[in-house]
Amino acid sequence: MSQVKKLLALGLAIATVAIATPALAEEAAKAAPKADPAFLFNTLLFLIGGILVVWMAAGFAMLEAGMVQTKNVSMQCTKNIALYSIAGLVFWLVGYNVMYEGVDGGYIGTFLPKDIPVPDKDTANAYSASSDWFFQMAFCATAASIVSGTLAERIKLWPFLLFVAVLCGIIYPIVGAWTWGAGFLNKMGFLDFAGSSIVHSTGGWAALAGALILGARSAKFHDGTITPLPGSNMPLATLGTFILWLGWFGFNGASQLAFATNIDASAVSNIFVNTNLAAAAGVVVAIVLSQLLYGKVDLTFALNGALAGLVAITAEPLTPSPAMAIAIGAIGGAIVVFTVPLLDKLRIDDVVGAIPVHLFAGIWGTMAVPLTNSDASFATQAIGVGAIGAMVFTVSLVLWVILKFTIGIRCTPEQEQKGLDITEIGLEAYPEFK
């Protein structure tokens, strides 16, 4: 998604056009509207990829609705549809241009609404500008969904939505600018194909900062014991995971950013294969490990394992061989099984396991890039991970603290006890089942 890559794609596209419209046809071409297969294929890739990533918003909603307690399910649904909406609006208003417009090796772009060219002016790229905006917008919403899962069951609605607006309008776009916007990390050679760090760890760091400032759910930890608060609806959580898995083909596949040449198409196909194998390995490792460690297969670990495998392969889904993709995903699955209880021990309350899945597996995936891609170096990857972490974590922390001491971020203990569905939004998720 780097500018660099975009220019490359443009070059290819022009070459392709040259092939498809040889000299003899040039006359005709002038009369008829341009029909450049590269433009069409690339745009199609962005649109289909974008739809799949948009679909992930539904996946997060279902996963989270299934992993929270019954009394907080409507709230979780509300947060998810609202955050996706806000993400889209602010990413148009400022986000896209902060990320892509005039970053130029630096740290940040321009604060302006993204200009959507009318179709017959849409000639600056090898793809439609709005198809690219659409695809990038969907990415942005993903980062916000991660935060929503971690902080569920105790955060108030409006401060959460305010945070989302800043995250999607400014924080995430700045992170994006550094690499995909051709900023300083891109110049250094930091590689993060579809965003293990740029999207997933960003969400994870913001979630972690929030979890620290917000504190754990009051029922979770007391007098040294951990009280699990099991999710209320396992098939919904499973559905959510399947939706996310599906969406990830768009997330990683369309991050190839081009479908104009045979090589692009093959690359997208290989990405599909690796993405699927990594997720599958994440599941299998999670169920095997939970059987070995706890004597029982834990479905929620299997679901998290799939996602951790997906996050891990996201930083580099193209260069790994299938065996390497399996290994990368498998380690993602293991990360989940070991770090979910670790967070509990640290008294950090992450309702859906978003920090292990998106932050820890995201770091792992980013650091694993040099294993299969010789253009990457461990040092640069570490710098990227560190820079993104430092910025997102600090800014988020400050923002959470400000919100805490102004409008307040936490529900009252009584609201928490009765559930946010009744107390904050006055609507039970399953009013007739009790």
Partner: protein, 112 residues
């Protein structure tokens, strides 16, 4: 008249109902309850954290009968609901002073 309340394991419901039918108990009311007693829920592990389940699902049966039939019914429940394992449940008997059939207004023994 007496009111017999039996707490039993959920999967024994059909056996008990059949045993009671056999001795012509034609009415009863069932409630899903959770029991706390010697039998504890198995300890569970959720996402790597262990926790103990204090309550186990049970069914509560309430049967209003003429006093004379109490012993037979207790016997029938004991046989049908017993597995010899901990948690089989309890039978409680209290005195029932009045009974009314809403539909007809019949009272007491006639209402059962």
């Amino acid at each position: 008249m007496k009111l017999i309340t039996a707490i039993i394991k959920p999967h024994k419901l059909d056996t008990v109902r059949e045993a009671l039918s056999a001795i012509e108990v034609t009415g009863l009311t069932v409630t899903e309850v959770k029991g706390y007693g010697r039998q504890r829920g198995q300890s569970e592990i959720y996402r790597g954290a262990e926790y103990s389940v204090n309550f186990v699902p049970k069914l509560k049966l309430e049967i209003a009968v003429e006093a004379a039939r109490v012993e037979a019914i207790i016997e029938a429940i004991k046989t049908a609901a017993g597995s010899g394992e901990i948690g089989d449940g309890k039978i409680f008997v209290t005195s029932l002073e009045q009974a009314v059939r809403i539909r007809t207004g019949e009272t007491n023994e006639n209402a059962l």
